[in-house]
Assembly symmetry: D2
Homo-oligomer: 343 residues x 4
């Protein structure tokens, strides 16, 4: 059975497993105070072009979002996000559990429009009654978005300008950051992205690691962020587990190389669907491809390949997601092409 | 340099690494819905003698405590614990962050005394003013305790009886459960412990795993516990990372065998200190040994071995902790014996 | 200057002040355990036709909403409300502060449509991914709504049926309940409303009292609700302040009589606007009237009367709110009619 | 039946009722933006000698404590208080509900000892492990304390110095502030107290008002404190209810005069007990008197007077509290003297 369900369906890149194995019996201090964690941080800051920044490692994405966002917000503040933002719908209320509202503005193929963000913030402060409303306290975007789309450098620059004009930190959810940066459609580099935002995370779980996300504060972390991480249950005793993995990922550009490979696979996958005549729901330049299938087509393909049903598309069709990852191989795409009926 | 700082200073038992490696490229569904997680759960429930129970895997201990406790408590309830309980002092306020007070009663070498628990609860309900106070909503104990001590079966039975008489669930923090159960001083089995409590966790991080704790509800979990886990940021996308590890730990009694080995090392370590004339702070039957050293002694030993300073003991001395684990070897203890001056 | 800004611009009905004064020096027990509070509860339960129910008094509306909603919800649950519901926008994130998401569905002139509620809940449970989403845990509606509109008995019956079919409690925010029930457009009685919901509150602040809302649980309150109230800072030491006021409000139908008077004033006010040719934004049958004014008209009227600007209505006009209350007099409306230019 | 149960057993001082009545039909803007609230604030700031400060009015004490404390604390911080502090035991977990731990140090007749506070903070920062513990974020004391005792100016100065040396704000709970300041045992004035702390509140509920506490920030409030108040459900729509009351209390020194009267009554009450041979539990200089009674004595006195049982005192005796207030009259004390048996 072919597997295109998601981008976290396999274990870890072999280089990561090897690094874990070779360091396994070393006696290391806990909670991220080991040398592998230290050098992973250094490599990440170098790659992000912000040597004076701070890095923390956290096990998973929802935990990262909740911990980062609540570290920035005062209790009367909320996070501004797209209605399709991960924090707005698929984190079981983690942000609200920490006491904060997610303030949503419309999503357009997963993206917020800078002018709409600016209008929202301007209207907020124009409204004399805003003392009875949740204050915007941070701007959250995903790169790539939950629909696989990418902001342009111009859009990111504009969102950064707007957020900072309102004294709001800009947070970029990079659960799939590598798949964004390595897309040919991306016109921004990691140092450029880093310069524009206050905090972002480099997703490991979906890009080669067993688990783990690297939270980067290019311009420095909020005070006592480590305690904040601990309080949110997000501090691993064996911090090495995350440090060693990211040390491997940021050695010899592994993170970027495996991301680039995944994008090659994604483009090949997209071409297969186009060649066979299937319409795309969104023309995604990253590792998630959204295709429209009729129920009958979906049923047929499901005999050979696993994928995810995203949402209904009229009464007889549906949007489905085919995801590839660092672990997808040429042969997987070829096999899909072989079984995919021509429309 | 010899290492006795803690029990999470190495990676994972080799059988775990091997199992991760051999399953690495299998395509598995996420969030714990893979077959390795399923069989790990089954093995754990069998070992705990509660085949009808529920098991969930969570990355770390603080997160586990916070997620489990808040799943049981109504907002006006708190968790009753020893003043030395982990949740009361070393979790950076994680329980309070979820809105609940930790109600403390005195600790005696890390343990609560059943009669004191009963008196506390009786006084609470006798006090007519209790509507203005936090309700006790759950009883939390650690096995072994934070001081390496163990409750007897009689004490556990009594605490269970008292908790249930007041309709409170009993939760056992088993961060080092194996090191408790495998101690010759333990007079209780896992199924017996399981029968007495409503929820406990089997610590993996300190007993052979890279990370992970198995939360066991012998009589069934609270409704929608998985969503609760997700909301608390405690649900790993690659649930396999935890499932595969616990599958290895509960195959061929590995968890118990490596725990028993650690206890052998601990007893040998204790004997070394006693033979050389050092006083124990507590006569611990488990993997953590608390010894009293003068400042001069500590300084001398620190040239050769790492350990943890626990607390001052008068103006010139201190309590120190020497911890062993599944990874400690005979040679480590012998080397310590060789460098430890006779008093 | 005429005053139509809101319905909380004056003190209390004179009968309330008199009752406060005549009981002022009596020595009474605190926290609502005095006889005036007891008899106020009894009178309210009689008026609501649910003698076996429970009543609690809380100072204000936001506090009431937050305390009631969080008493019902488990931590992974949220409250389903209209996008225009008070809890969704004008309570500064009070619901989120207590850890819960407000799940919004569209508002139609302030009302939710039963079929849309049902579709929302059905879709929620149809979606296999709902374990990663906030569970609907309670249905919140306002009667009258924030736009002064009313649900019909049929609509309320249907919403009640749907909520209960999904095992969700139905909560009715009655900040202006009297103004709803006494409207000629209302086809439901208080006992009928009471029978349909699990909890509602009878607003005092906007209907004759200095402060205070009466929370009614027709079928009984959640366990330890008083402690819940205390924990939320909502329990007044001098509970008599609320008990005495509601005792007066529910003696000789005062609450209903002053509400009916307000509705007479509102209908007279509406007629004034219609007679002068002003378009209504919403044809409200209750005490809040929403009128469309051009900027020039608003400026002119503002020389003589205070009102509230609600929202822009195209580039040159705006929706304004004229509110009347128990304290509005015939002469106020006549005076407005005198200064209001004919369009 | 004589009434000494508490200091909130009557309504309001007549001057307050009169002021409410005379302003009752004035049309005033809501949420504290009326002129009476404005002038009450001005009068309070003048009395406190901090004309540049900020004042907010909140209905009750628990709500005030929770709202003020959470406005200052970051999520990883807690409030340092005596073990007998009101926030530590009798607020049903309100502080924890807002996510913060109450960090307790020993109480001595209700007071913290400055040297113990300093030692606690010093030890905290000396402990290398403090990143895993809740940070002290604010120092909370009560004046007078929950046991009716008073800090000296020297003690307050010292506590202020220590708190500020650790960059912690000092918060004084003044639920009974008047009864402290007007005690002959007090050696501090309101402006002196005000200068030493960052925030305090002037209790109205127990000193003449129907409800209400005035929160004073002598050196300015935290940003957006009004929204914080709203979010905590603590913002009354009819803010006038609090403004008018405090306007009356701070006109012609009413607050201080009625406090002084209460202290006269308290000293007279104390003398009655001493004259009749009853031992005091604490020699309180304020309005709460704690006396030791045998069970038989308590039973006898209870036939004529109501008082509060505080706590057991050995097997056959108990500590009881006799509270007086602004509403207590000479005749009340005389009547008690008449029925109190000589020991």
């Amino acid at each position: 059975m072919l597997f295109f369900v998601n981008d976290y369906g396999e274990g870890a890149h072999e280089a990561i497993l090897a690094h874990l194995a070779e360091t396994n019996r070393e006696h290391l201090m806990g909670y991220g105070s080991d040398p592998y964690t230290a050098q992973a941080k250094e490599k990440i800051l170098a790659a992000a072009g912000c040597p004076g920044g701070d890095v923390f490692f956290i096990s998973g994405g929802t935990q990262t979002n909740e911990t980062v966002i609540s570290a920035y917000l005062r209790s009367y503040e909320g996070a501004v996000a797209c209605s399709t933002g991960h924090i707005a719908c698929h984190e079981a209320g983690a942000i609200e559990h920490s006491g904060h509202k997610v303030l949503t503005i419309p999503g357009h193929a997963g993206k917020m429009v800078p002018a709409e963000l600016e209008a929202y913030l301007a209207a907020y402060y124009a409204d004399g009654n805003h003392e009875h409303m949740v204050f915007p306290g941070l701007v959250y975007i995903s790169y790539p978005t939950e629909y696989g789309t990418l902001y342009t450098k111009e859009e990111l620059t504009e969102i950064s300008r707007i957020a900072h004009a309102y004294h709001l930190p800009l947070y970029v959810d990079g659960a799939r950051l590598g798949y964004g940066l390595m897309s040919p459609a991306s016109d921004i580099t990691l140092p450029e992205l880093s310069a524009l935002c206050d905090v972002f995370y480099i997703g490991g779980t979906k890009v080669g690691a067993l688990c783990g996300e690297a939270v980067v504060f290019p311009h420095g972390a909020p005070a006592h962020f480590l305690t904040h991480v601990k309080q949110h249950g997000a501090l691993l005793a064996k911090g090495r587990l995350l440090g060693v993995q990211f040390d491997a990922l940021f050695t010899d550009d592994l993170y970027f190389k495996i991301s680039a490979h995944a994008i090659q696979m994604a483009m090949k996958l997209k071409q297969v669907f186009l060649d066979k005549g299937y319409p795309l729901f969104i023309d995604s330049p990253t590792n998630q491809q959204f295709v429209i299938l009729t129920k009958a087509e979906a049923e047929e393909i499901a005999k050979h390949a696993q994928f995810e049903v995203w949402e209904p598309h009229g009464p007889d069709a549906m949007v489905v997601r085919f995801a590839v990852s660092w672990a997808t191989e040429d042969a997987d795409i070829d096999a899909l092409a072989a079984i995919l009926p021509k429309k």
